[in-house]
Amino acid sequence: MTLFFVVTLNGLTLAALYFLAASGFSLIFGLMRTVNMAHGALLLLGGYVGWSVVDATGLWALGVLVAGLSAAFAGAMVQIGILGWMQGDELRQTLASIAISIILADLMLWIWGGTTYQVRTPDWLAGGTRIEMLGIGYATVRLYLIGFALAVGLALWLFIQKTRVGAVIRAGVDDQDMLRALGYPINKIFILVFAMGGMLAGMAGVIAGSALSIAPGTDLQFLLSSLVVVIVGGMGSVGGAALGALLIGLAEQYGLAYAPTYAAVVTFVIMVFVLAVRPQGLLGRAEV
């Protein structure tokens, strides 16, 4: 039973990370129909920047903040500099973002090298916590990570559902042309959403570097998981990203624990099954 609980907690940890990575990806896709293949690179960039800041100052929270902001800036730059003026040509945007991710990944390899980094965590996050109810101990940082993902999810949901800017973004998802016709600065909204997606990815990078570790290749791992999560959960919906992340995170960990040879296939089977039953994803809306 202990194994089951630990595996479940591992699955939830992974799901929390996947959610943080996929929510920004899904948001960008939902609004702009842009598949940002550079999303994983933004996440890794955040992770590296966060590591450097924490290494220099010792302040973990500052690391998360600076990482979020730099990835947000990089995301905004990608939209302003390149993807922005290919708007509407989705295939071209996708290919361009792949080129950007190749360039970013190589630049990061140049700067930070090929070593694996683990972000130093403050004392209150280090060590383990005993969970009496389940009778097991678990890494504190991972428990906080699960809490953090819940908080981010809730904040994101409130922002999109209850604020004015959120309403504009939702309107943009539904009918971009109408929003433009009503005089909303849609290009600025695009940049804002790209920056938000970048920020979420950047923070997720530092947190991934604290709870697990980061290295070249982490970018692709999270890009792929984001893809699968949004395919399963449905594009452009925060709830979908959460549900997809939960399903994939748990399935991956249960798969690794109980059927190691076929762990990769479990994820794949879930994806194929969802595609067969609901091509738009579990919580996605069908394309008009």
Partner: protein, 321 residues
């Protein structure tokens, strides 16, 4: 006729090129070009950019390794006459399966799904030791014997590759003119109308993917003989992106552009060391890719066609005056 025009110099290449150019540059480019051709075929005629073509090549490659000679002591050796058709059939079946899974997805959705399938296969080959021998894969996959040497030697492999590449190009040209090929193009242009006419769209999509599996599989077999090994790295995200880069550089809307892209890619790969640091090849290829997407979204082939048109147009006007 145009094909002969291109083929004649290619047949004469071994007379002038040394072994390095022949095997490291031209043969390699042709093999990559065949795999990229399967992607360009799907992109041009079905309108789907598939990231799973390396996976299909890998299926055929693994089949050759599993059912043929290798040095890892795994698999069931079968005679070559069985192995090759078997590898191609497996690649076609894999292609049909991918097509079936992605049948309702178009554009960017198809990209995401095929990419997810490709990477899932990569992780699967890493974790599975019964069929794929996990991380290390198969080594010592020796090509069939030929005289004193084998088909993997520079000149025989070059002619074999050239022959396969020619057959693949002819096959693509034939397929797109066949009724099934026309149905595939109809799916690309107006799936709704096709359904309204009572023609199901699943069959053309699955057939197009299976056909692309045949082409990618041929490239995959040659690739295994060229490298004499196949492992999870042969089907990883690196090769997947490489094939995409080749197709984009050549032009996604021009099937034969795949070979143009492949030669550019291979030459860049080999001579990057002279331009910049060898370790920064990805930076170079990333920038080249980005520039092509920005300046020539339809690739070098389209660029060449446009220039040719402009030149011819210029000549025509000058004749008039």
């Amino acid at each position: 006729m145009r094909l002969l025009f291109v083929l004649l110099p290619l047949v004469l290449v071994p007379l002038i090129a040394n072994d390095f150019w022949l095997s490291q540059v031209i043969t390699r480019a042709l093999i990559l070009g065949i795999i990229a051709l399967s992607l360009c075929f799907l992109a041009t005629y079905l309108g789907v950019v598939s990231f799973a073509q390396v996976t299909l090549a890998g299926v055929a490659g693994y089949a050759i390794a599993y059912f043929g000679p290798n040095t890892v002591g795994l698999g069931i050796p079968l005679p070559l006459i069985v192995t090759i058709p078997l590898a191609l059939i497996l690649a076609m079946l894999a292609g049909a399966m991918i097509g079936y899974v992605a049948r309702r997805s178009r554009g960017i959705y198809a990209i995401m799904i095929t990419l997810a399938i490709g990477v899932a296969f990569f992780y699967f080959t890493r974790q599975n030791y019964v069929l794929f021998n996990g991380f290390t894969g198969f080594s010592g996959v020796i090509p069939p014997a030929l005289g004193d040497g084998n088909w993997g030697d520079a000149v025989p492999l070059y002619y074999l590759t050239l022959l396969v590449a020619t057959i693949c190009v002819v096959l693509v040209q034939g397929f797109v003119r066949s009724p099934l090929g026309l149905a595939v193009q109809a799916v690309r242009d107006a799936p709704g109308r096709l359904l309204a006419l009572g023609i199901p769209t699943t069959l053309p999509i699955v057939a197009a993917f299976a056909f692309s599996g045949l082409i990618a599989g041929s490239g995959g077999i040659l690739n295994v003989w060229y490298q004499e090994r196949v492992s999870s790295f042969s089907v990883g995200i690196g090769p997947i992106i490489d094939i995409l880069i080749i197709a984009v550089i050549g032009g996604l809307r021009h099937p034969t552009g795949a070979f143009v892209g492949a030669i550019v890619y291979v030459v860049l790969d080999i001579f990057a060391i002279d331009l910049i640091d060898r370790d920064r090849f990805n930076l170079l290829i990333g920038i080249v890719l980005l520039l092509i997407i920005i300046a020539a979204p339809n690739g070098l082939s389209q660029l060449a066609i446009d220039w040719a048109k402009k030149l011819r147009g210029g000549a025509a006007t000058s004749r008039k005056t």
